[in-house]
């Protein structure tokens, strides 16, 4: 037996800052989407208020939460401490200011969005630098490094394409390649950054939360090859008008994701913890939702349904990316607060378990509300029903308030 003494814990204030910002941005995004009801329900998505809501949701919530979670999870998953916590705090304030200013400018002054966009890009580049330096120190690279490292590369490409879009708005000259850049920005942001990141960390969190042991990781490399090839082929398809190349790319993405879903299922078969925590089950449910949406993204272009693709993108952001993040946040926030409050008391007095830090029954109600709202919004967008959109989006806004209050209530435990 070889003794090793290594600790990798991050100052919890850093991830918590990102998470609190993210939860507040989530509520704001839902409220703005509710106000944009008539346009959204009639299928008009390219509107200033919807851009603002989309960027608040994707950058303010999903990106900030992903960054905060990475400050916590990278040391855990890769056995290496964060390169500079101080830089982490600086990066938080720059990115937060950039997101607020950028979202507001999209809503009111889209032509000058380039300037806050530069601030936002600076924050993200600092984050990429931080993660690059951290991962460099990892002694033994593994398949998770490949997933997360590739996700970070796609994040860089996403913001470069996003900045190009902002440059078009500023110059008032929507070049012929504007749509190509927009499509690439969405593809790389959703599948290249978020999906690869969630898939990579799932390989750490699924065995950890289910106490799975003795499973094979061989399939992960095929997941990676199919998914990244799918990203490249889909990107190339944007150069052409035909639907065939896009379907080929979407098919490869579907194959990669289906392999990932199957791999996670095989890992869960090796678990010791038979009764899984509810919030963790929600994160697993999101994998099923994403599988359905990848199938839809493959089939819809073949039928020539472009409006349907916009709905698939909405459902992918909320049903896969956000639902995964929400599911894991119900686990991560209690852990962070428990560490802050009770870490030094363990062994001295009775301390609560992580499960006791949150009302699990209440999270079940919230996740049912989220799922019903999501299905309602998707149906409303599909049949262009404004009353149904208002009802479903009101329920989603209500969920965001419940979710925010649950996250904040943990801080009183």
């Amino acid at each position: 037996m070889i003794p090793t003494n290594t600790a990798y814990e991050t100052n919890i204030r850093l991830p918590l800052l990102f998470i609190v910002f993210g939860v507040v941005a989530f509520v704001a995004a839902q409220a703005i989407l509710l106000a944009a009801g008539p346009a959204a329900a009639s299928g008009v998505f390219r509107l200033p208020s919807i851009w603002a809501a989309a960027h608040l949701a994707v950058l303010g919530f999903a990106l900030m939460i992903a960054m905060g979670a990475m400050y916590q999870l990278v040391p855990v998953a890769f056995l290496t401490p964060i390169w500079s916590e101080q830089l982490g705090f600086v990066q938080f304030f720059i990115t937060a200011a950039g997101i607020i200013a950028f979202s507001m400018s999209l809503a009111f002054y889209a032509h000058v969005a380039l300037f806050p966009g530069v601030l936002l890009v600076l924050g993200i580049i600092l984050f990429l630098f931080q993660m690059g330096m951290t991962l460099r120190k990892q002694a033994k690279k593994n398949i998770m490094t490949l997933f997360v490292g590739s996700a970070l590369l796609f994040l860089l490409l996403t913001i470069l394409f996003g900045l190009t879009l902002a440059l078009h708005f500023w110059s008032g000259n929507e070049a012929a390649d504007h749509l190509f850049i927009l499509k690439t920005h969405i593809l790389f942001g959703m599948c290249g950054w978020f999906s690869l990141l969630i898939m990579g960390f799932s390989y750490k969190m699924v065995p950890m939360f289910s106490l799975a042991h003795g499973f094979s990781m061989k399939l992960a490399r095929y997941v990676y090859v199919f998914y990244v090839t799918g990203l490249i082929v889909t990107f190339i398809s944007f150069f052409q008008d035909g639907r065939g190349p896009f379907a080929a790319g979407a098919g490869l993405l579907l194959t990669g994701f289906a392999l990932f879903a199957y791999h996670i299922w095989t890992i869960l078969q090796k678990r010791v913890k038979k009764k899984l925590d509810r919030p963790f089950q929600f994160a697993l449910l999101a994998i099923g939702i994403a599988l359905i949406l990848h199938t839809a993204a493959f089939l819809l272009p073949l039928s020539g349904n472009d409006h349907g693709m916009a709905i698939v993108i909405y459902a992918y952001v909320f049903g896969w990316i956000m639902f995964s993040i929400i599911g894991y946040l119900y686990k991560i926030v209690p852990f962070l607060w428990w560490t802050h409050r009770y870490s030094k008391k363990i062994g001295q007095e009775n301390v609560p378990t992580l499960k006791q830090m949150i009302n699990e029954k209440w999270t079940i109600v919230q996740c049912i509300l989220f799922t019903v709202s999501l299905v309602g919004v998707v149906i409303a967008l599909t049949v262009s029903s404004l009353p149904l959109f208002y009802a479903a989006q009101s329920a989603m806004t209500l969920f965001s308030l419940f979710f925010a209050s649950t996250m904040i209530s943990v801080l009183w435990k």
Binding site: M1, P3, L211, G347
Partner: protein, 99 residues
Amino acid sequence: MDIRELVLEQLRTVIDPELGINIVDLGLIYDLQINDGNIYILMTLTTPGCPLHDSIVGGVKRALEHIDGIRDVQVQITWNPPWTPERMSEEALRQLGYF
């Protein structure tokens, strides 16, 4: 009570807060040596890079330091050999719904 039993009893007060099971029943203790008031523990965690690393190691020290006659507590973490579920007690497996 024998000092070794007393130490194990104290270690049972240290729980893994994710699982709600104490570290002895989880089978995390690989070696326990007690010499003239000095305790040496070689232990593991259920997964490398466990986020509860510092909390659990600190908890082990705090649980043992106040025992009469104990002068020093050394805790070493090892990943070799890695922890496996076979190390868990029947009670721990029952708590996880394994049976």
